[in-house]
């Protein structure tokens, strides 16, 4: 499923996010790399598993922590043609969350469907 672009062939990149935001640097670093991949006009998808779903929840206010609130960046992904965001259904349910609790439109998928999405990729980067 590759397509031509100016720089050559676009590969399918999947970024797998499994960490909660702020407690570690993984979530922020992932987002930085996603934007780089998108700038190179690759076919980018994001997967959110386990605690990774917490990256997308609404209402982050980091003033007290004095760290960057990168939550608004997810809303800018659309401008980079990054629109394929897959969220693990079981992860949301275990955390008492619903799709309406997230800052961007996502596709909520079963573990089985998530596995299919992973199989279809050329490159998978884990955070």
């Amino acid at each position: 499923m590759t397509e031509e672009n100016a720089g050559g062939v676009a590969k399918k990149f999947l970024y797998v996010n499994r960490r909660a935001p702020y407690g570690t640097i993984y979530a922020l670093e992932s987002l930085e790399v996603v934007l780089i991949g998108a700038a190179f006009e690759q076919d980018v998808s994001l997967a959110f598993l386990g605690d990774g779903v917490y990256q997308l929840t609404k209402g982050h206010d980091t003033k007290g922590l004095e760290v960057k609130n990168f939550s608004p960046t997810f809303r800018a992904l659309e401008d980079y043609d990054v629109t394929k965001l897959y969220v693990e259904k079981e992860a949301l349910e275990a955390r008492g969350l619903r799709e309406a609790d997230l800052v961007v439109p996502v596709e909520v998928v079963s573990a089985e469907r998530m596995a299919e999405i992973m199989e279809a990729q050329d490159v998978i980067l884990s955070f």
Binding site: Y22, G23, G50, G59, G64, S71, A94, R95, G96
Partner: protein, 99 residues
């Protein structure tokens, strides 16, 4: 004894182990990703509710707010600011950090 837990209860066993060893009357302070344990209606909320019968549970407010959890904190869990964290440390004879 004051116990602190800084790991998510969904990805780590730190909270479970802490609650196993926390004796009646001790205090448990949830910090960093540990604050997710304070949310209501989750896979671990029953475990936390049960623990509230014998220990006091606190969550660090700046960590709760950073994660957008301010409207999800379960009844019985007290929010404290950094000053409250210091008070808890001063009030207890020792601190055990479940890293």
């Amino acid at each position: 004894m004051l116990h602190t837990v800084n790991k998510s209860p969904f990805e780590h066993k730190a909270l479970e182990t802490c609650l196993k060893f926390a004796r009646q009357g001790s205090a448990v302070l949830l910090i960093e990703d540990g604050v997710y344990a304070a949310a209501k209606d989750t896979a671990v909320s029953k475990q936390v509710q049960e623990a509230l019968k014998s220990v006091s549970i606190y969550a660090l407010k700046p960590d709760v707010e950073a994660r957008g959890m301010q409207d999800r904190v379960m009844d019985g869990v007290h929010l404290v600011d950094y000053g409250g964290f210091v008070d808890l440390v001063a009030e207890h004879n020792a601190v055990q950090s479940w890293l």
